[in-house]
């Protein structure tokens, strides 16, 4: 499963990386990411997940080939 992170999340993870573990939902993916880097827990709690360019909720069912973007709060403008 391909993950892409942005902005402040790049201080905690590589910009692009792969999760090989079997994950069915965003919630389980989130758990894995916190295991990988526990210091990212608070930051991740403020982020939203997008799958194929649409925001999804924690119960969203992931497919193995989904492209997942983790979206921190906006700071544009």
């Amino acid at each position: 499963m391909q993950i892409q992170v942005y902005a402040i999340l790049k201080n905690y993870f590589d910009k692009d990386f792969t999760v090989e573990e079997a994950v069915n939902t965003i919630e389980s993916l989130n758990t894995i990411l916190i295991q990988r880097n526990p210091s990212a827990k608070d930051i991740l709690a403020g982020c939203r997940y997008a799958v194929n360019d649409n925001f999804v909720d924690n119960q969203f069912q992931l497919q193995p080939n989904d492209s997942i973007h983790i979206i921190p709060p906006s700071s544009g403008g």
Binding site: A7, R48, A50, F55, H69, G76
Partner: protein, 168 residues
């Protein structure tokens, strides 16, 4: 860039609302005249030389480009439906933006000025809170910081619910 950044209600929106290079404001403004529009309002968000008491060297913007582009297009569409605009344009920079350079521009045109002002404010507030675009501040002391995040979630309890300035 000129023609492709405006929202033309009849034509839909195939514009590119992100620009990796300097935004040509005179060209955008020149494209915003409309014989039915008595009022044009332009907002330019520019890099300040200071932030939270520290001296800023420049900003760098990153975006999830496909989502940001789609969301800005949708915000312009909402504004147009709400205020029947003649013109609605928005372009946000990515990459490095020096002090006094434009990071984001919004142009609205309508028959009368109340609508042009209100729509302009609506569009910039929505872009700032919703569009997946992030600012990294580079300070003159060599440090950098991802900053100025929308933190509405701490108040609303929902990352998709924001408190917009235009509603205050």
């Amino acid at each position: 860039m000129t023609a492709s950044t405006s929202y033309h209600p009849a034509a839909g929106d195939n514009a590119n609302h992100l620009s990796a290079t300097a935004i040509d404001i005179p060209a955008l403004l020149a494209s915003a005249h409309h014989p039915k529009a008595g009022a044009i309002v332009l907002f330019s968000g520019e890099t300040r030389d200071n932030s939270h008491g520290r001296e800023v060297s420049y900003l760098e913007y990153e975006a999830q480009e496909t989502m940001a582009n789609k969301m800005i297009a949708d915000i312009l569409k909402q504004a147009n439906e709400k205020w029947q605009l003649n013109i609605a344009i928005a372009v946000h920079r990515t990459g490095k933006v020096a002090v006094s350079e434009t990071a984001v521009v919004v142009i609205t045109a309508s028959a009368h000025r109340s609508e042009a002002y209100a729509a302009n404010r609506f569009i910039i507030d929505k872009i700032k809170h919703e569009a997946p675009i992030w600012k990294c501040e580079y300070f003159t002391d060599g440090s950098k910081e991802w900053g100025g995040n929308c933190n509405c979630r701490q108040i609303t309890g929902d990352a998709s619910k924001h408190i917009y300035e235009f509603e205050k």
